[in-house]
Symmetry: C2
Subunit: 316 residues, 2 copies
Amino acid sequence: MKCVFTFEPLEQLKIDLVASFPAVQFCFYENVTLAEQEMKSAEVIVTYGEDLVDEHIYQAEKLKWIMVTSAGLERMPLKAIKEKNILVTNARGIHKIPMAEFTLGIILSHAKGFQRLWENQKEAVWDKQTPLTEIHEQSLLIVGAGAIGQEIARLAKPFGMKIIGVNSRGNAIDHFDEMYTLETIHSILGSVDYIVSILPSTEETIHFYQPSDFESMKQSAVFINIGRGDVVQEEVLMTALNNQEISHAYLDVFEVEPLPKSHPFWKMSNVTVTPHISSTTMNYLPRALEIFRKNLHTYMNNDHEFINVIDPERGY
Amino acid sequence: MKCVFTFEPLEQLKIDLVASFPAVQFCFYENVTLAEQEMKSAEVIVTYGEDLVDEHIYQAEKLKWIMVTSAGLERMPLKAIKEKNILVTNARGIHKIPMAEFTLGIILSHAKGFQRLWENQKEAVWDKQTPLTEIHEQSLLIVGAGAIGQEIARLAKPFGMKIIGVNSRGNAIDHFDEMYTLETIHSILGSVDYIVSILPSTEETIHFYQPSDFESMKQSAVFINIGRGDVVQEEVLMTALNNQEISHAYLDVFEVEPLPKSHPFWKMSNVTVTPHISSTTMNYLPRALEIFRKNLHTYMNNDHEFINVIDPERGY
């Protein structure tokens, strides 16, 4: 049985896989173009999920299963996959630890004014007058109270934050003090200190945040987007920031990525740009391959209890 | 009864005090020099704790109580105070929230490489290759497991960190996985990822950390000092950093403060300097004055149950 990777894991991860599955012929390639030579005979393809196109699916005559080592399936050729009835699994669930740590790090850095303190160091300026705040008793609105949002809530709660969540049903969840839905969220936006958006990109969420939402926010409010860039039109966000309707935006995701060099966000003093990196961690691939290994055991045993199966119709 | 402040709280705090204690004549001054005119008749002095000298104590004929709105008593004229048998109380206990938040912020900023990411923004560089780490399953050694250390442990534990503490008896404490004493700590220094020093400055702790301690640490170790600067000789720390025996030092306290402009720490890429600011928060004075108010009620009622009474002999 042939398993083709369209990327190269670290040496030790490859050695472990090969040793664990002697019946599998692993072929590791640096990219999808190099991998194409083996597509025809591949029964399993392992990909980060941004390189496969329809043609690969049609060429891969023996293909039965695609393991996507990320969570977003937006760039996968799902129509062809559905047509050929190929199993797709992903790495859903491994993002919550790094993304929640990243979010708490951003919130604390903002409260403690680290960017200003670090600029002061460059000039050897000892300035004790910098106004530091606390997150204790501040409110945190988590828009998207799924696995990642719940992990953020779990970590933020012990700091004494008031945690407000948004999910589709508005039902109560552990670590959250109040819940809203996407329909009722607008009423709460004006009273929170930190807003973290983890919304995915769907028909319902595209350009979700309206100019009136930012107008209603506290002037001291902080908007953090680690979900998808297109939930807010960049023009809308830019206007809100230029009018100082909110205090700062921490943006890890954008309508176009990489964010173009000429984009105003890079230069705005009340915007912090990070390169869609919140889920990045040295532990990422080991964890994703742990899911793959479990599924590969299932596959080799002809069992059917796969973890993280994707419905190609819905895309998640 | 006259109560003299050697600093000016915000207007609202002054109004609240005056309204709450009609029998007290409050005199607020911007600094101790201006306050001197009222010292002679002051029964109570409220100070940040770095301005009073022996002479003030001898001049203040009616003085019965000094409220120090900080925790460190090193600069107080304790000998004269003891001689005249004056009650001293401080603001012990209000530092734990801001200092624990500050520490978690530093740890997360380090793990997520925020300094590097923010430098990248200045050059409009979208670099996803930055190696981000996690604090999940990393170990944290808290040297000084008092109120502040325990608060850091409480907040760090939910992140999945292994928490190791150091206190005088080495006894078990909530949120800590292991405990050591100042005598046994040296054996554990080589196996931890983050070291937070909250040691006060005492005869026992001065120049506590030895060159061999840093030599034994992991090359990836991070040393954070939010206690007192003189627990490590700066030469020793500098050598360790120059030899890359550890990865980074976050220093909020120094042997001489403010840190002199010419000090090499300012320019070292593996040192982050902050201006003894970890306990700073907009909530600081309101909380300190909350303690003062409770004690002032006690004082006015001729009760004796004061909060945070200092023994001038021991200095804490």
